[in-house]
């Protein structure tokens, strides 16, 4: 399935790496430098979307276009982000 991840950085520049893992393998990886929507292809149920990087001064909002566990949108405070979502 195709998945879109929307990221909004607030109060300065941020930097986030989105990685899709499927059964221990890295399926895709995208580095996000500015707010926007990132398309991810070939994502399957049970895959994990890993999100890590730096959230700017006023934090970041992240939402994934498909059902995940836990569900999105999520807000991250300023500082390091290390999070992961299972695609349902």
């Amino acid at each position: 399935m195709n998945v879109e991840v929307n990221i909004t950085f607030k109060g300065g520049a941020g930097n986030v790496t989105i990685t899709v893992f499927s059964n221990g393998n890295q399926v895709s990886q995208v580095v996000v430098l500015i707010s926007g929507t990132v398309p991810l292809t070939n994502v399957s149920s049970g895959d994990i979307i890993s999100i890590d990087g730096i959230s700017p001064a006023n934090g970041s909002d992240i939402s994934i276009s498909v059902s995940t566990d836990p569900p999105t949108p999520s807000h991250y405070e300023s500082g390091p982000i290390m999070d992961s979502y299972i695609v349902l």
Binding site: T8, F9, K10, G11, G12, A13, G14, N15, T17, T19, F21, S22, N23, G24, N25, Q26, I34, S35, G46, D47, I48, S50, D52, G53, I54, P56, A57, N58, D69, P70, E77, S78, G79, P80, M82, D83, S84, I86
Partner: protein, 389 residues
């Protein structure tokens, strides 16, 4: 005409502040450069950035309205999208501007006089929100930890049992979170094994080598490391230019105009409990010559000062006591009074105690080496947040 302009400015100031106060309860907190985000009381004198209205004795004989704001904060009130990174960086020039306005009224609500000030930070390397260095430095510092996170998630993605995968992922989220942190010893034993396995990677992050690692989470370590990096920005240079205008209290004519530059830079590691800060000031002032019948700005004074500010921090790394030693030179360019020296060199000291988050108690003294005179004065410095309503 001047009266009308003043009334318009005051009404605008009150309106903007009311907007701000109303919005505070509804909006998420928006961080702008604030007086208290600056590390020391000495810097608070240089550049403030809060968004504030202070009304004093409105029912009394002498009414006073004070307004202080950062230009970006005003713009943000009317365009919330400015907080989004692309707009924020594009409009970061506005964060460098501070505006102050102070008007006093007679009992009959007639404007007596006002003062206003503009500050512009020519160099502001301390504002991490617009720094181009922060993200590369943070990614460099946290690279091994971020890689480590990905390797743990990669291992969890292998788990076939969806309930088990969910449980491990839920715990991993907390273990890597700096806010809702779960320490290592509280993780499932199998997840602990995965984490230790991942930390044995060659050239990778070795969590098991961290002292007392079982009582820690990766989120806590990453957060500590990031905050140390943020503190290092407190030592960066700050150069602020300013223009202050003051009118007479009985006439809409300028009584004082001050122009100046103020520079400060930290010297010692900001994570240490003590720090030294270099402070250099230069100003040019034009004032009314009181010996003349006509009111004008014929008296002009140049002033230069160089000093070192010793900052003593508390356990929370916040500046609590500061002692500044400086040497200053006053030079009266024109309008010298009979009893005055054209040139005056003094050694100055300022001892400041932080009473509360917003409130400083400075004790100042000046020493004139020529005459041996010592002058002292007590001054109160506050951003009036404690009077906000």
């Amino acid at each position: 005409m001047k009266k009308h302009i003043c009334y318009i400015i005051i009404c605008l100031a009150i309106f903007i502040s009311k907007q701000n106060l109303n919005a505070q309860t509804k909006d998420v907190s928006i961080t702008i450069l604030t007086a208290d985000s600056l590390p020391t009381g000495n810097n608070k004198d240089i550049l403030t950035g809060f968004y504030n209205l202070y009304l004093n004795d409105l029912t009394g004989v002498n009414k006073e309205v004070k307004f202080s704001s950062n230009l970006f904060a005003i713009m943000l009130r009317y365009n919330k999208n400015l907080i989004i990174d692309t707009n924020y960086i594009k409009n970061s020039w506005a964060k460098r501007f501070n505006i102050d306005f102070d008007a006093s009224f007679e009992n009959s609500n007639k404007l007596k006089g006002f003062s206003m000030g503009l500050k512009y930070a020519i160099i502001d390397k301390r504002d991490v929100t617009i720094s181009k260095k922060l993200i590369p430095l943070a990614l460099g510092k946290l690279k091994l930890i971020l890689d480590f996170h990905r390797s743990v998630i990669s291992k969890i993605s292998i788990i076939k049992d969806s309930a088990l995968k969910k449980n491990y992922n839920d715990q991993a989220k907390k273990f890597f979170s700096s806010h809702d942190s779960l320490i290592f010893e509280n993780l499932y034993p199998e997840l602990q094994k995965i984490i230790l396995e991942c930390s044995k990677t060659k050239d990778g992050f070795d969590f098991s080598s961290v002292k007392n690692y079982s009582n820690l989470s990766i989120g806590m370590l990453a957060d500590k490391s990031y905050k140390e990096l943020l503190k290092s920005f407190q030592n960066m240079p700050l150069l602020v230019s300013y223009l202050n205008l003051t009118t007479f209290t009985n006439k809409f004519q300028m009584s004082n105009i001050d122009l100046g530059l103020d520079f400060s830079k930290g010297i010692i590691n900001p994570n240490a409990s003590n720090n030294l800060e270099l402070n250099i000031k230069g100003s040019l002032g034009f004032a009314n010559d009181t010996t003349k019948v006509n009111k004008d700005l014929s008296r002009s004074i140049a002033n230069g000062e160089i000093g070192l500010n010793w900052v003593i921090k508390g356990s929370d790394n916040r500046s609590n006591i500061e002692f500044k030693l400086s040497a200053s030179e006053n030079y009266i360019i024109s309008g010298l009074y009979n009893s005055e020296n054209k040139q005056l060199f003094t050694m100055n000291g300022t001892l400041r105690f932080r009473i509360s988050n917003d409130f400083w108690f400075p004790l100042e003294f000046k020493y004139d080496p020529k005459t041996g005179n010592v002058f002292g004065l007590i001054n109160i410095s506050s951003n009036f947040n404690w009077l906000r309503f």
